[in-house]
C-alpha cells in the first residue's frame, strides 16, 4: 500500500508566516530521497531550498511560481511505496 507523506510549507524563521514559492527542483513524478532539496521558497528576502521529508515519488500540488503561501500549506506529497 502506498503511503502519502505531505510536503508542507515550513516555518523557516521565527517571524515567517508565509513564503513565496519560487520553483521546483525536481520534476513531478520523479523519485526523491529524504533530505534532498525539492523546491525553493523566498522568505525575509532570502531564498531557501526545502528538503524532502521522505523518500519516494514526488507529486507536485498546485503551487505556482511567485505565489505566496501560508506556513503549513500542503503544496505537494511524496508517495512512499
Amino acid at each position: 500500500m502506498t503511503q502519502k507523506v505531505p510536503v508542507q510549507v515550513p516555518k523557516l524563521t521565527m517571524a515567517t508566516t508565509e513564503v513565496t514559492f519560487l520553483e521546483w527542483l525536481v520534476e513531478d513524478g520523479q523519485p526523491v530521497e529524504e533530505e534532498q532539496p525539492i523546491y525553493v521558497v523566498a522568505t525575509d528576502k532570502v531564498e531557501n531550498e526545502v528538503a524532502a521529508p521522505a523518500s519516494g515519488i514526488l507529486r507536485h500540488g498546485t503551487a505556482e511560481p511567485e505565489e505566496v503561501y501560508p506556513v503549513g500549506t500542503e503544496i505537494a506529497a511524496i508517495e512512499v511505496p
Binding site: 508542507q8 510549507v9 524563521t13 525575509d44 526545502v50 521529508p53 503549513g72
Partner: protein, 312 residues
C-alpha cells in the same frame, strides 16, 4: 551532551522541511555547559534557564516528551502546551522557570535561593543566562542581593560571545564577563565552556559552597552557538572565519575524542550512546506528534489560584 544535540538536530530538521511547526533558539554548540551543570545538581536543586535552554532542560533530566511536547504546543508538554519553548517549567526535575526575557531569570533565581534559605533547605539554585544578560539591571540587582544575603545561588553565564546579533565587544568594556563578580565580592571563575569536565568541576565546587552556607558563585563558561540567534537566522552578521574557528572547538567531537583517547569508552560504546540518543528522540517525537493540543478548558487553568476579585 549527545542527547541535547540529538534533540536540537531533530527539531531543526523537522522544522526546516515542514514536518512540524515550532520556534526554537538552537543550543547547538553549548551542550558541554548544560551537561556539566546538570550533572553537578541534585534533582531537587532548582534550575532557571532561558529560551536558549533546551540543552539545559535535557541536562537537568526533564523527560523528552515534556520538552518536545511543550515546544510543539501539545497537552503532554511540560507546561501542558500553553507555554511554548520560552516558558518550560518542570517542577519534578527542579526546573522552576524558563524565561523569554533576557536577564529576567536572575532575580527569580535569587528569590528561589532566598526561599530555600528561609525554609532551612540545603537545596541550591543554578541560573543560566547569556553574556548579554549581564548588561541588564536585573542581573546586577540579583548579584547584589545574592551576595549581600549570602544566598545559595550558582550564576552560570553561558558566554557564547554574541547577544542576539551583537558581538560582545560592542556592549561591554571589560575583557572577561567573570570580572563582573568583583563588584559584588563574589567568588567565581572563568572556564572552557566546551569542556564538560571543567564546567562540572567548577559548578560542583559552587554547589558545595552554596549548600554549606558559603553563599553565591559566579561562573563564566565560554562557548559558542553554531546556529544563530533563532532557528532560520542566516547569520549574515557573523564572520565566516569566526564560525569556522568556533566549530573547530565543537564540544561534542572533542569530548568523544577525549573519551576514546583516555580509554574511558570504546568507539562501539560511543556509537551506541549516539544511537540511543537518536532512538530516544524519535520515540519521544512520535508520542508528541500523536498527542492532542491543549483542551479549550485549559485556557483559564494555572492562571490564578483564587479567581475572587479577578474580572471575568
Amino acid at each position: 551532551m549527545t542527547l541535547a544535540q540529538a534533540v536540537d538536530a531533530r527539531l531543526r530538521k523537522g522544522i526546516g522541511r515542514g514536518e512540524f511547526f515550532a520556534v526554537i533558539w538552537p543550543s547547538r554548540g553549548q551542550e558541554a555547559v548544560a551537561a556539566g551543570v546538570g550533572a553537578a545538581l541534585r534533582r531537587d536543586d532548582r534550575l532557571v534557564t532561558t529560551y536558549r535552554g533546551i540543552h539545559d532542560l535535557v541536562g537537568k533530566g526533564v523527560p523528552l516528551t515534556e520538552i518536545l511536547g511543550e515546544i510543539m504546543g501539545k497537552s503532554i508538554g511540560a507546561s501542558r502546551g500553553k507555554g511554548g519553548t520560552m516558558h518550560i517549567t518542570a517542577p519534578e526535575q527542579g526546573v522552576a522557570l524558563t524565561t523569554g526575557i533576557v536577564g529576567a531569570g536572575v532575580p527569580v533565581a535569587v528569590g528561589l535561593a532566598l526561599a530555600a534559605k528561609q525554609q532551612g533547605s540545603d537545596r541550591v539554585t543554578a541560573v543560566c543566562f547569556g553574556d548579554g544578560a549581564t548588561n541588564t539591571g536585573s542581573f546586577h540587582e540579583g548579584m547584589n542581593l545574592a551576595s549581600t544575603w549570602q544566598l545559595p545561588v550558582v550564576f552560570v553565564c553561558q558566554n557564547n560571545l554574541w547577544a542576539e546579533m551583537t558581538p560582545i565587544g560592542d556592549t561591554m568594556n571589560i575583557d572577561q564577563v567573570v570580572d563582573r563578580r568583583l563588584a559584588y565580592a563574589m567568588p567565581g571563575e572563568r572556564v572552557d565552556g566546551n569542556d564538560p569536565e571543567a564546567v562540572h568541576r567548577a559548578v560542583t565546587a559552587a554547589v558545595e559552597r552554596g549548600r554549606s552556607g558559603g553563599g553565591p558563585t559566579f561562573i563564566e563558561a565560554v562557548t559558542f552557538r553554531f546556529e544563530g540567534h533563532y532557528f532560520g537566522d542566516q547569520q549574515k552578521y557573523l564572520p565566516a572565519e569566526e564560525l569556522a574557528a568556533a566549530k573547530e572547538a565543537d564540544p561534542i567531537p572533542r569530548y568523544r575524542q577525549k573519551l576514546l583517547d583516555s580509554g574511558a569508552l570504546s568507539a562501539d560504546e560511543l556509537t551506541a550512546i549516539d544511537e540511543d540518543a537518536t532512538a530516544q528522540v524519535e520515540a519521544a517525537l512520535a508520542e508528541v506528534l500523536a498527542a492532542p493540543a491543549p483542551d479549550l478548558a485549559e485556557l483559564d487553568q494555572d492562571v490564578f489560584v483564587n479567581m475572587e476579585g479577578i474580572p471575568s
